[in-house]
């Protein structure tokens, strides 16, 4: 899966906007949205929020967790714990990137937020590398990865699964068995 496809899934997440236009309720395949009234907050999927913001039709409100103090606490907690701590959103990375790229004017202390989220990401990816390494060394057959987000899994997932597949094949071919396939001439 590409990062773009993960971002596509992330764009379904709901965020709050303040529109500057009026529109009656709209009926989309994915669900009903609106109605929209100037100055009144309304929840919409991220893809629509970004689109409206780009057309200067709304202001975006940062999610409740996108706050410097809260993120500092989360980052410190993540650094302290050896395992993965729960993240404020299963799509925290994508939300941060899209909101900060398109609506940084609506988000207080945007630069600090960017740095804090990046720190959390780096810590988690480092932990992922360490645990993938020990998974392989100890030849485990199963791993539990609660609290990992799709984007994190996707970053090393394809490589990790292909490597594990190859290693499995090499290992099972060491033991002679009828299920080992070889070429006949």
């Amino acid at each position: 899966m590409d990062a773009a496809e993960v971002e596509f899934l992330a764009e379904k997440e709901l965020v709050t906007i303040i529109p500057n236009f009026s529109l009656d309720k709209i009926y989309l395949i994915g669900g009903d949205l609106g109605p929209f009234n100037p100055g009144l907050p309304v929840e919409v999927p991220l893809w629509l929020a970004i689109n409206l913001k780009q057309r200067q039709k709304c202001r975006l409100l940062p999610p409740e967790w996108m706050d410097v103090e809260k993120l500092e606490k989360m980052r410190d907690h993540e650094r302290k714990e050896e395992t993965f701590t729960p993240m404020p959103s299963p799509y925290y990375m994508e939300l941060t990137k899209l909101l900060l790229n398109h609506a940084s004017d609506n988000i207080p202390k945007a630069d600090e937020i960017r740095t804090l989220v990046k720190d959390m990401w780096d810590t988690r990816i480092a932990k992922l590398r360490v645990s993938a390494d020990s998974f392989v060394r100890q030849q485990e057959a199963h791993a539990k990865l609660d609290n990992l987000t799709l984007m994190e899994i996707n970053t090393s997932g394809a490589f990790l699964t292909r490597a594990l597949d190859h290693m499995y094949k090499l290992r099972t071919n060491l033991q002679p068995s009828e299920s080992a396939q070889s070429q006949d001439f």
């Binding site: 030849q139 057959a141 199963h142 791993a143 899994i153 597949d165 099972t172």
Partner: protein, 185 residues
Amino acid sequence: MTEELDLMGQDSDGSSEEVVLTPAELIERLEQAWMNEKFAPELLESKSEIVECVMEQLEHMIEKFFPHVLEKEKTRPEGEPSSLSPEEFAFAKEYMASTDTYLKNVALKHMPPNLQKVDLLRSVPKPDLDSYVFLRVRERQENILVEPETDEQRDYVIDLEEGSQHLIRYKTIAPLVASGAVQLI
């Protein structure tokens, strides 16, 4: 007003029963089917009513594994849901016929007479069901068998909690993907 879509479902005594899905649920199912198909090492059950958008993925996989797909279809017991929709089956048969003709004209007819047959079933690689996959649990499962690869390690069982995420070999959990109890990620 959101329209509701009628899907034909089958209940246990074989009589047809209408399953009513909202468009939002249909999109959700489509996404789930898309992700499962993308990450599974084998071809999964055909969901003909939502398959149009998954066409590309399937075409690629059918092309990769075509003799095995046709073999599986030939030996499928009565009543079990097909892995291929009628259009896909036709495509697979035509692809097989074309490949046959191609190999014959480009290489085989120039070979000595006793080497002119090629067994596609043996020469084209089978889907690798031992591939590792990531999954998220939708319905709690108990006593899933984990078979480690080395002789020194015993088989052991694990429980899959709802909402947890895992990395494991596809073979053990394949039926859970088909039933919808887990989602590949």
